[in-house]
Symmetry: none
Subunit: 195 residues, 4 copies
Amino acid sequence: MPKLGMEPVRRRALIGAAVEAIHEHGFCEVTMGQIAARAGVSAGLAHHYFGSKEQLLTATMRHLLSELGAEIVSRLSRAEGPRQRVSAVIAGNFAPGQFRPAVISAWLAFYVQAESLADARRLHGIYARRLRSNLVHDLARLVSRERAFAVADGAAALVDGIWLRQVLRVGEPDAATAIAMVEDYVALQLERGRM
Amino acid sequence: MPKLGMEPVRRRALIGAAVEAIHEHGFCEVTMGQIAARAGVSAGLAHHYFGSKEQLLTATMRHLLSELGAEIVSRLSRAEGPRQRVSAVIAGNFAPGQFRPAVISAWLAFYVQAESLADARRLHGIYARRLRSNLVHDLARLVSRERAFAVADGAAALVDGIWLRQVLRVGEPDAATAIAMVEDYVALQLERGRM
Amino acid sequence: MPKLGMEPVRRRALIGAAVEAIHEHGFCEVTMGQIAARAGVSAGLAHHYFGSKEQLLTATMRHLLSELGAEIVSRLSRAEGPRQRVSAVIAGNFAPGQFRPAVISAWLAFYVQAESLADARRLHGIYARRLRSNLVHDLARLVSRERAFAVADGAAALVDGIWLRQVLRVGEPDAATAIAMVEDYVALQLERGRM
Amino acid sequence: MPKLGMEPVRRRALIGAAVEAIHEHGFCEVTMGQIAARAGVSAGLAHHYFGSKEQLLTATMRHLLSELGAEIVSRLSRAEGPRQRVSAVIAGNFAPGQFRPAVISAWLAFYVQAESLADARRLHGIYARRLRSNLVHDLARLVSRERAFAVADGAAALVDGIWLRQVLRVGEPDAATAIAMVEDYVALQLERGRM
DNA sequence: AATGAATGAGTTTTCATTCAT
DNA sequence: GATGAATGAAAACTCATTCAT
C-alpha cells in the first residue's frame, strides 16, 4: 500500500542497504536485487528512484562522504583552538557511526574504484581536499605552513591506512587505539615543530 | 605455431596482463577476454591454464605478494643492523617495480576484495603477519618490545595509507617522498623511544 | 505484456517444452535456449524460474513421475478387488498421456541418466518402490507373498522393457498390445500360483 | 616412444575407456579428454584414431554389440536342440562380461540415444532383428509360429527391462536371478503353448 | 606415433533494465 | 507508488577439434 512521501524513506533505506550489501557480498559482486531485497523493496523500485545501479552507488558514496563530513563538522563546532580542531578531525574519522565494518568496506571499495568510476573519483577528491585544507589551516597556526602540509598529509595517510588495515582484522574496530595512534603521530610532529 | 613448454610462459603473461587489465578497466569490470587478449591468447586458454577467473586473480595476487616480498628480502639481505633493516622494509614497499600505478590498483583491489575473497584474505594475512614480525623483531632491538609493536603497526598503516592515497593522485607515484614520510615517522618514534 | 501470476503458467509451459525438446533434439543435445524458445520465452526467464538447466530437468522428471503416478492412482480408485487393481497399475503405465514418443524419450533419458543425476536417481527410486509395494500388496492377496514379489518384479521389468523397446520402433506406440503382453504375463503367473 | 602396430591396441583401450567413462560421468557429460585420459593417451590421439567423438562412440557401441553377440553365438554353438538354444540366448544376455555396471550404463545410454544418433539406431536395429529372428526360429520349433513371435518379444522385453532396472539397483548385478526370471517366463509360455 | 598448445564456437548463467499492470 | 514479468546483452566456461612439433 503506497504511501505519500515515501520517496525519501525509500532512498535512505536503499542507500543503507547498499552499504550493507557491499559489505556482505563485495563491491564487484553486489547486485541491485540484493540491495533492493535488503531494503525490502523490488529491484524495479530501486531503478525507479535512482535511475541506474551506478547512480545508486554514487548516491551511496555521496552519503558516506557527507556522513563522515558531518561527524567532523559537528566535532569542529565544539572544538576550541587549533589543537582541539585537529583532534576533532581525527576523532571524527573514527566516530562510532563511521568506523564500523560495513561502512569501512563500502568506503574503501569506493576509494579503490575511484580509478575507474569518474564520479567516485571526483567526489572523493572534493572531500579529501576540503579535509586537507581544514587540517592545514589549523596546523599552520601551530607549526610552519610547510610543516603543516607534511603533518596533514602524514595524518591523513595514517588515518586511511588504519581504515584499510581494518579489512584484514577480525572483530570489531577499535576506535580508541586508532585515535591514539594518529594523535600520537600529530603530537610528535608538533613537538618537533616547536623545537 | 605451438611450441613446447609454453605453460609457464603463458601463466606469467596472463598474470602480468591481469595486473594491467585491472588497472585499465577496473577490478570489477575486467573480463577474462580482456586479460587474455592483452596476453595475446584466447580466453579459452586462460581458462585452460587457470581453471577460472577467480583462480587467475588469486594467482595474480599471490604473484604481487611474492614480488613485493622478494623486493623486501633482497633489500634485507644487503642491510646491516636493525636500523638499516627497518629502512630496507620501508624502501622495499616503494620499490620501482612495486610502487607504480598498475600494481597499486591491483594490489588495493585485492586488499579491499579480501573481505569477500577467502583466498585473498588468507594470502594477505600471511604476508602481513610475516612483514609485521620482521619489523617488530628489528625494532625491538632499538626500543622496548611494547613500543616496537606500536611503531611497526604505525609504520605499516602509514605505508598502506600512502599506497591507498596514491589512487587519488594524478601522475607518477613519488617513491622518494613516500619513503621520506615513513622514515620520518620511524625516526621520530625511535628518538622518543630512546629518550 | 506482463501479467500477474505468470509463474505457474511459465513453469508448466517450460516443463512441457522440456519434454518435447528432449524428444526432438535428444537429452544430451538439448539446450536451455531450445526449451525456452519452445515455451515461447527467453532463456533468461527459464533460468529465472528454475535456477539452472539441471533444476529444470529435475522438475521435468518430477512432473513425469507425478503424471504417471496420477494415471495409476486414478485407475486404482476405480478398481475393485486386487486383480482389477493389478490391471489398473498395468494400464496406467500405458495410459495415452504417458505412452507417447516424447514422454517415452524423456522418461528413458532420465532413467538412464539416473546414474549420474543424484536427484533423478532418488526421485526414480521413490517412485519405483511405491509402485512395487502397491503391486506386491495386491498380488499377495492372490498368491503367496513370496511369489507376489517375483510377479511384481517380472511385471515391472516387462513394463520397463516394453517402454525401452519402443525407442527402436517406428510409428505410434501400441498401448493395447503392450498391455496385453503384461496382462498375459501376470495371468500366467497367477494361474500357476493357484495350481 | 611410439611403437609399431599400436593402432589396434590404442583403439581397444579407447573403446574400453569410453565404456567406463560413460559409466562414471554419464553419457551426456563425458568428454574426449576424460576418455583419453582413462586410456592413458592424449585427447589428440583419440581424434587421430577415430576422427571425432561421435565416431569413437559409434565404434564403442559397435563393440558392445559385437561382444554381446559373440557371447550368444558362443553359447549357441554349444547348445543342442531348440530349447537349449533359447536358453543360450538368454544366458548370453547375462554373461559375466556383459551384465556388469559399466557395460549396462553404456549400453542403455546408446539404446536411449538411438533416437537422436542415427548410427546407434541402425546398429541397434540390426542387432535386435538378428536376435529376434534367432529366437523366433528356435521357438517356432516348440510352439506355433504365431506364438513364437509373442514369446520372443516378451522375452526380449523382459531382458531389456531387467537391464534397465539394474540402473536403479545398488550393488553388483545378479545374473542368476535375472536368468531365472526370463527362463521362468519362457517356460510358462512354452508350457501353455503345448497345452 | 603422439603430444600439448591453442582456438572458436556454443552453452549456461547472470543481471541491469524496461514495462504493463 | 510498486511489483513482478520479461528480456537481451555480456560474461564465464567448456570442449571438440586442429596443428606444429
